[in-house]
Symmetry: C2
Subunit: 450 residues, 2 copies
C-alpha cells in the first residue's frame, strides 16, 4: 500500500518517459499519492521531471505541484504561461495552497495569473490571503469551510451541507454563524445526524469554541491546537466574523519547522537549510557561527597571552585548557537547552526566574563536585602536582557552576527582550563559556602558583 521509491523504479519510469510511452508511465504511477509523485519529481533531473509532469492529468498535477520542493516548483512554473498556471492548476487548488504558490511567483507574473483565474470569488479569496504574512494564522488559513446559520433547522442544515460539502475534500467541523456571519459556535456532524430534522441549530449547537484572528502568530496557533487537541480552528476578523479555518496538517508542519529551527540554531546553523541544499547555501548558513567561534578563540588567545610567563614556567597549565573550555561549553548548552525547550513548550509554569536559578545552582554544585573530584584525583595521582590538581579542580567546579547560571540566564533574558532564546544555545553560549572558563582557570592558576 505504501510506496517506496527505488532506483529501479526511477529508471523504469525515466525510460518510459524518454520513450514517450504514456500508457506505461500511467501504469507505473497509477496508484500513487500526489506526495509520492512529488518525491519522484524531486529525484529526476529537470528535463525528465518536466516530461513526466506533462503526462499527469491536470487535476492530479495540481495536487502534485502543491507537494513539490519549492525550488523545483519554481522551475516548473517558469516554463508555464500565466494562463496555463491559472487555468490548469490554480483553479484546482484550495485557496491556501493557491495563495502560497502564487506568492512564490514574481510580482509581474502574480498579477497575470490572478487575472486569469476564472472563478472571481476564488481570485478575491486568494488576493485576501496574499495580504497575510506567512508566519501568521492568516498565512495558514484557507477560506474553504462549512458553516450553517443558527436560525436554520437541521433539515435545512443537511441540505446546505450537501451543497457546501461538494467543494470540500474533508469536513472537520461545521461552524455555526448568525445572520451577519459572526461565529457563534460549532456543531458536530454526529450531532446533526442524531438530532430530529425539525430542531433548530440555535437550540443544539455548542457555543464553546476557540478562534483566532488572522494576525495571531502561527506558533501560537500551533500551541493552541496541540494543547486542546483540535483538528481545526476557525479564523475570525476583528468583528468576530468567520473568514477561514486552519487545519491540523498545516499546523503539524509549523510544529516541525519550529523544532527544526531550534535544533539548527543549537547546532550553529543560522538559516533553515537541508542536507540536500547546494553546498554554497550550506556554507553560508554555517559560516556566521564559525566566525563567532573564531572571534571567541581570538579573545581566548588574548587571555591566555596574559599568562604567557606562567605557561613558560608551568607548561602543564596548558594541558587542561581544552578540558576547562569544553566543560564550560557543554554545561552552558545543557542548561540553556532546557530553558529554551521549556519556553517553547510553555511548560515553565508559574515559577519565577529565581527558583530556576536556584535549581540550576544545585545541579551545578552536584555535577561540578562529581567532575572536580574526579579530575582532582586524576591530576593529583597521574600528574603528581598538588598545585595543578587544586587549580584544575577548583576551576572546573567554578566553570560548571557559573556556566550553568549563564546558560539559564541568557535565554531567559533574550526571551524577555523578545529575541529568540534558541539563539543562546548555539555556539554563542559555548564561546562565551569557553572564554569565561579560560579566564577562571588561569586566574586560579595564577593565584595558586604565585
Amino acid at each position: 500500500m505504501q510506496f517506496q521509491l527505488t532506483k529501479e523504479f526511477l529508471e523504469q519510469l525515466n525510460n518510459a518517459v524518454a520513450e514517450n510511452a504514456e500508457k506505461e508511465v500511467m501504469r507505473l504511477v497509477n496508484e500513487l499519492h500526489p506526495v509520492d509523485v512529488a518525491e519522484i519529481l524531486d529525484e529526476q533531473n529537470l528535463e525528465q521531471a518536466q516530461a513526466f509532469f506533462n503526462f499527469l492529468p491536470k487535476e492530479f498535477a495540481a495536487d502534485v505541484l502543491v507537494e513539490l520542493d519549492e525550488e523545483r516548483r519554481e522551475k516548473f512554473l517558469e516554463a508555464l504561461s500565466s494562463q496555463e498556471i491559472a487555468e490548469h492548476f490554480i483553479d484546482n487548488m484550495d485557496s491556501d495552497d493557491a495563495a502560497d504558490i502564487i506568492g512564490e511567483l514574481s510580482e509581474e507574473k502574480r498579477g497575470e495569473v490572478i487575472a486569469h483565474i476564472e472563478d472571481l470569488e476564488q481570485a478575491s479569496d486568494i488576493l485576501k490571503l496574499l495580504d497575510y504574512h506567512g508566519d501568521t494564522a492568516g498565512g495558514l488559513m484557507t477560506n474553504e469551510l462549512i458553516s450553517v446559520n443558527w436560525n436554520w433547522d437541521i433539515n435545512t442544515c443537511l441540505k446546505e451541507l450537501k451543497k457546501q460539502a461538494e467543494e470540500l475534500e474533508r469536513v472537520y467541523t461545521v461552524y455555526v454563524v448568525d445572520d451577519n456571519n459572526v461565529l457563534k459556535g460549532r456543531i458536530s456532524l454526529r450531532r446533526l445526524l442524531l438530532t430530529p430534522g425539525t430542531k433548530k441549530v440555535i437550540d443544539i449547537y455548542e457555543s464553546d469554541i476557540l478562534s483566532v484572528t488572522p494576525d495571531v502568530d502561527d506558533e501560537h496557533v500551533a500551541m493552541l491546537m496541540d494543547k486542546y487537541d483540535l483538528v481545526s480552528i476557525p479564523v475570525v476578523d476583528e468583528l468576530n466574523r468567520l473568514i477561514g479555518r486552519i487545519t491540523i496538517d498545516d499546523v503539524v508542519d509549523v510544529i516541525k519547522e519550529e523544532a527544526e529551527k531550534d535544533y539548527q540554531l543549537a547546532s550553529g546553523i543560522s538559516e533553515n537549510i537541508e542536507s540536500s541544499d547546494k553546498f554554497w547555501i550550506i556554507s553560508r548558513a554555517r559560516l556566521p557561527w564559525l566566525l563567532v567561534g573564531l572571534l571567541g578563540g581570538i579573545v581566548g588567545s588574548k587571555i591566555i597571552g596574559i599568562y604567557e610567563g606562567e605557561i613558560q614556567l608551568h607548561p602543564e597549565m596548558a594541558f587542561f585548557i581544552p578540558l576547562i573550555a569544553a566543560m564550560g561549553g557543554n554545561v552552558g548548552v545543557q542548561s540553556s537547552a532546557l530553558i529554551v525547550q521549556g519556553l517553547a513548550n510553555k511548560s515553565m509554569g508559574l515559577t519565577g526566574i529565581w527558583s530556576k536559578l536556584g535549581k540550576e545552582m544545585l545541579v551545578g554544585i552536584m555535577n561540578g563536585l562529581v567532575c572536580s573530584i574526579l579530575i582532582f584525583g586524576y591530576t593529583f595521582f597521574f600528574q603528581e602536582s598538588l598545585n595543578l590538581a587544586v587549580t584544575v579542580s577548583t576551576a572546573l567546579l567554578s566553570v560548571i557552576f557559573f556556566a550553568g547560571i549563564f546558560g539559564t540566564l541568557i535565554p531567559l533574558l533574550l526571551h524577555k527582550y523578545k529575541i529568540d532564546p534558541a539563539l543562546a544555545t548555539g555556539p554563542f553560549i559555548t564561546t562565551t563559556n569557553d572564554i569565561f572558563g579560560i579566564f577562571i582557570y588561569f586566574f586560579i592558576g595564577y593565584l595558586m602558583y604565585a
Copy 2:
C-alpha cells in the same frame, strides 16, 4: 475564550477550595477545558490539588486525569481505591487513555482496577492494548472507531452510524469492512450524506487506504500521517482485520517528543527531562555527557603533554588551543546536525554517502579557507610570527575540513548499525573533534618549529 493561568486566579481558587466553597470553585472553573484544569492542578501543592480535584464532576475529572502530569497523576491514583479508579474514571475514558493510565499503576493495582471495570468489552479492549509496547502503533491506538459493512446500503449505514457515533466524541473517518471485519477501504461522511440511501457501500467506497499493524514503530506512523496529511489511520491485524485507529492528536505528541529527544541529545542531555523536574533528575540526565567531556579533556591533556617541551619554548602555541578545539567541535556539530535532521525527515533522497561526503568536503574547504585566511591575517599581523600564523591557519583548515567529514560519517554509520544517529551530535562529536583538533595543531606546530 482562551484561558491564561495567573497567580491571582490560583490564589482565588485556593482560597475557595480551603473554605470548602463549592459554588465559588465551580464558578471559577466552570468554563474551563480539562487541559486548563490539569494545568491548574500541576501548579497547586498536592493537598490543594486533591481537595480541588474532589470538587470536579466525575466525568470531567476523568478527562482532567488524562491530561495531568504523570507524576501528579500517580499521587492522585495512589490515594484512590481500585474500585473508585475503575468506576469513577476508567469507565469514562477512551480505551487508549484508560490503557495508558492503567499501565502506569503497580502490577497488583492494575489487576484490581481491571477487575472492577463494569463494561466487560472495555475491560477486554484495555487488556489487549496493555499488551502493546508504548512506542508502537498498538500503543497509540484506540479501539473506538466507526465502521460499516460493505454489503450495507447507505440508509443502513446512516442508521448504524447514529448508533456507533453516540459513543464517539469525534468522527474522523468511516471505515469499510467485509463480513469478516477485514478492512476494505473508507467512506467519507460527505459521501454518505451526498449519496442516495438505496445505493450500496460496496459501489461507492474508496479502496485506497493506508493502514498499519500494531507492531509498527510510532515514529513511522507519525511519518506516514504527516507525509500523507492524514487525520487518522486504521490499525489492522496480520489478517488485515480492523482492530483500531490512531488519531492525529496522539501523533502530534510523538512528533514533538521525537524532536525534543533529538534536541536534548544534541545538547548533551541523556534522558527526556523538563526544566520543571527535580534537580537530581536533571543532574543525573546531564552528568553522563559531562563525564564524556571530562574523559575527552584528559585525553586532550595527554596529547598536549607530549609537546610539553615545545610549549616551554614557544608558549604562544598555547594561546590558540581553545580556538582550534572549539572550531573542530562547532563544525562537527553543524555537519552531524544536518545529517541527523535529514535522516529524521527521510529527506535524504536517493543520493548516496559519497555525494554527501563530497558536498561536505566542498563546504569544509570553503568555510575552512575563509576562517584560516582570517586567522592567518590576525596571527601574522598581531602576533607577528610567520611560524605561528602558518601553524594556526593550516591546522584550522585541516580541522574544519576533517571535523566536517567526521560529523557527516559518524551519524551515517550509527544509522547503518541501527543506533540513534542523534547520539553523534552531542558532546560525543564535540569531544572527538576537540581531541583531533589538538592533535593536528600540535603536530603541525611541531613540524613548523622543528
